[in-house]
Subunit: 445 residues, 2 copies
Amino acid sequence: MSSSISKRLIVVAAAAALVIGAQAAQAQTAPLSAQESDPNVMGWMQGFPPPADKMITQPDSDYFSFPKLRWSVCHLREFLPTEEISRGLGAPAPLSYPSPAEFAELSAQIDALTFTPINGDAEMTWEESLFANYTDGMLILHEGQVVYERYFGCLEEDGKHAIMSMTKSITGLLGEILVAEGVLDDTLLVRDVIPEIGDSAFASATVREVMDMTTGVQYSEDYSDPNADIWVYSRAASPLPKPEGYDGPDGYWEYLQQVEPEGEHGDAFHYKTINSDMLGWMISRVTGKAVTELASERLWRPMGAEQDAYQTVDGKGVPFAGGGVTAGLRDLGRLGQLMLNGGEINGQRLFSAQVVETIAAGGDPSKFAGFPTIPNGSYTSQWWVFHNEHGAYAARGVHGQTIYVDPTAEMVLVRLASFPRAQNGFIDPTSLPAYQAVAEFLMGR
Amino acid sequence: MSSSISKRLIVVAAAAALVIGAQAAQAQTAPLSAQESDPNVMGWMQGFPPPADKMITQPDSDYFSFPKLRWSVCHLREFLPTEEISRGLGAPAPLSYPSPAEFAELSAQIDALTFTPINGDAEMTWEESLFANYTDGMLILHEGQVVYERYFGCLEEDGKHAIMSMTKSITGLLGEILVAEGVLDDTLLVRDVIPEIGDSAFASATVREVMDMTTGVQYSEDYSDPNADIWVYSRAASPLPKPEGYDGPDGYWEYLQQVEPEGEHGDAFHYKTINSDMLGWMISRVTGKAVTELASERLWRPMGAEQDAYQTVDGKGVPFAGGGVTAGLRDLGRLGQLMLNGGEINGQRLFSAQVVETIAAGGDPSKFAGFPTIPNGSYTSQWWVFHNEHGAYAARGVHGQTIYVDPTAEMVLVRLASFPRAQNGFIDPTSLPAYQAVAEFLMGR
């Protein structure tokens, strides 16, 4: 096997998308601004064909490095095999908007809001924060009505954007729905659900520990270490032909069967993507359905989505339950509204209120550490719970993706972004206080 | 470069999909029947994970060989990178149906129709022909109303199916629309539209010759010859990393730049897929849009499609204009109805009536040969014209795909299929007379 092919294999792996950006960002010290790196300004993939230096191709360029990722986050299906999350065939359920005049006034008021970043930097306006955060799409719903909606960079209202690890929250929501319905018993051990998990460290964890990521499993994401587990996972997950002589795991699920233990199950929260794929496997086993099909049946169709979503797959057609979804901004707003409404949308109950109650209640913050911008948080059913005064919780994905639900303010906020660095710890300082400022503004309307 | 990697590269190439089936079919002498090879009966990809012998994966299995192709025709995006042909965000334009009672009666009447196959085999009923032809979906519209609709095998009403070379007819329709609007001058030489076509044999052909496939270009599809052009094209088109040491063309368009001459332009019709991709390139050059975007803007959105379609792409993101589209059955019915109505649908004119008139008039049958089941045919703007008493014309794709438009009977018929052999010459004997029988029945209603 040539090292060139091997390197390329890694580059195209679905799981690697999450990683490459972080790597590239580490190499960047003064990245281009949001305006400078706007993919339309950069001219990526414009022309038939584009000039060679404006081409973003797979595999010979690193398509998920900044600033190319600002284009690629809207185009993942053009690089990778995918499965559809169907909206069905009917008419979408329209979102509610104020009058155009009222909408314009609200937008202007929100743009002018000011807040102080967490890190103590100078006060900033809401609108400035959009650029500071390399925002591609921002949607805010208040009391079920869209009060703010803007598109930047590669995203348009009829486009879609990679949601990265927010995928986990969809997987977790599906899992929690199945738990509430008695289809998935969260007190079982993984080996009771998936007997062929064998000697994997997952075998002796409970379903609940997998859902809450408190398993004791080895999975390193040190990108500077060529032997880190993330690379092995990427190679396993790649839909490309395995190189000759490759004898590692083939696909997400084979990887999960050979995970080594690290620490004790239940002791502490460790953010490790393999838990999400373990949960995805258990969901498929107990329902007989791919997570894509289940997300369509339980969420996308009944909530009246206006676009299909899609999910990348490994070489065996298994959707990447830990990070593979791409979706439209307003459909993610529908999903957030469904959460805020405790499982109801468009006058229809899609799942028990207990599902959202469990997620919003959060877990034990004493088991949660390592996220300085979320000092009192917890992680439950693949959702981030802030344990703040507003009882907010969120789906979060690298490079700035979020669905932020504030039950006190009756606010749902969706941001899609292509921040140069992967970790949300870099983006939270100019995001979380901004969300709080909008929430307070909306509560005072 | 290892021969194993090389072989796998070929297998996964988008263009090769069209080819592999034919190869495999040649090796098969008594294929399974439609009922026996039903993918649900075969059990392909059922279970999480499926048993190893029921797995259809890329690249290690030949996913487009019969009987696997009966599953794969509904799942191409799970193997290959694709681009969306968006339906937009609005409500679909519903198709018109008779009352359920009338619909059931019509279906029964059509199922019982009999006809004599072209090859002189024994008389057959319409319903028998569905199985003889490995039909996955059949939709018949009469006077704008759906009078027959059935799904088999891998296809359901909210699913999609590869349309293979019917893709060419979408490309050709877009080209003809641009000609009618004066955006594409069909009297120009290719080199006047695409200067960088260079010394390619295409350079001196006219746009019209490309549209009608009367160019004199070398392109062999002898599957038994490992040096046949189809394999070079497949390697160029593959979205997989090019193997080390590969020095052939990269992508559809680089291939087109090095095509050798064979015969004279304008002399005769030769069915060669590279013409469709040459046309696709010219369309993108004069419009500044990918064929996917143009198909969305000019067809899928305004005709009120109920599903997005999609199109496979090469490693540079160029859609396969000669065969890459996958779409829903009813949306193809809308497309056929749009043709039958001379460019109008849902009370809206999408393009000049001249467009359909040009296509339906057909070309010079004296230049057309080599298709025994279409003895007096011609090929115009990538549509097959039968020059029969009903003035019928059709989009056609390997393994049995067709949109068959019969203006005299005011009938549109769409068949999606996964016939074991690629060439429609094997399927026409039990198809074309069946279509004529339905047309006559509908005219007598």
